[in-house]
Subunit: 127 residues, 4 copies
């Protein structure tokens, strides 16, 4: 069964011991925390901070899913080689329309190391 | 953050209390437990046993992913209305080639109620 | 731009000249031509008849999409290696609920040789 | 069979007669035409220019696929409601690593009106 890694559940000890492994698989959400109702805003997702993930035929980032609580929003799928076959911080920008306060999170998949949750990001909507 | 439900982690009490909820979301793998090396075999996935899942525009089965341990194999994506807009046990048959012993599992998504793991199924390969 | 191949547009001469190329990429729909309203029925899709398609890291069947006229129904996505890394006739079974007469067709993608249409198949619905 | 619309094949007359229909479905690629070998660069895709596409449960932009000639690169999939349920110019930014000169194009799908090609964009790679 593919493991589902959640950063909030990984102990500091464990993270320190396998720093590169956790870093290069963990997705991060970068977006404004307050947006205007009805406005369009960008949600950038980037995988890894200090370490890059390979893009080999049998080991690559397969997808990045964007969720709002329990609601599926969008996902991007990559072919192997989509990152040029070299290590990188896989990245994608989604664009959403603000309706109500959102609690965004990401689930991404490495073809070899299972599923990885981001932290949850609250996006408040103001009038 | 979308919840990830695993049948092995759900207590009998909890399952009994919300029987229809758990039943209609849980994916099941139906396939031979022993296959001949190099042969093609069918892996049927069906969601729910005694209860059916709606197929409404804002509440439907979005995808069914097939994994072999930590390795992504294949997935099917459905548009809302793909099940005719009526409740059903969503179903798909994948076909695989047997190389080595596999530990298959499924992760499926309801657009409203998050992610659901199947039990893991061992498929032994013989010569 | 990825080419979009349609069997109905390929001349017999061309097909004869590159028989294996066209055969191994062309998707076929196999299903009942008449179904009972409200009933579930199986739509098998198979790629190729007499020739098999490779499953190499840089050359494999990426997806199979099922359409009803201009309406997207479902699709299956494969990872490279999903067919065991050996040539095969990639296959999947979808299950649909019959509501009204359908005109099903498939669009499939080879990661190296673009997009391929099946012939269109009419499925009549009776009461 | 889903129609496959290509802007280069649509006559000016036809485009003028149904300006909003063609505009709101046609995907556009926005990116640098020259990039440094080994560098990361952004490929923005936007659907429509002067007209926006609905985001209704039975009529929305389903996916945007990025191709390099006949090679599949990446795709984004949207749930209905991903654009807040209001008309918009659906947009996504992909990030690629420059290796060799690319000929990028996009194939996008409306759940009701079939498949739409962008124009092809050449991205030259320099040392």
């Amino acid at each position: 069964m593919p493991k589902v890694f959640k950063p909030v559940e990984i102990s500091p000890d464990e993270t320190a011991a396998r720093k590169d492994y956790f870093d290069r698989h963990t997705p991060h959400i970068i977006c404004d925390s307050v947006v205007k109702r009805g406005g369009r805003f960008c949600v950038k997702v980037r995988i890894g901070e200090n370490y890059q993930h390979p893009d080999d035929a049998d080991h690559y980032i397969k997808f990045i899913q964007l969720w709002n609580l329990e609601t599926f929003v969008a996902e991007v799928q990559f072919a192997p080689g989509a990152q040029g076959g070299v290590p990188s911080n896989v990245e994608v920008d989604f664009y959403l329309t603000a309706k109500n306060t959102m609690y965004l999170s990401v689930l991404s998949a490495c073809t070899k190391h299972g599923l990885w949750h981001s932290e949850e990001v609250k996006v408040s909507v103001t009038d």
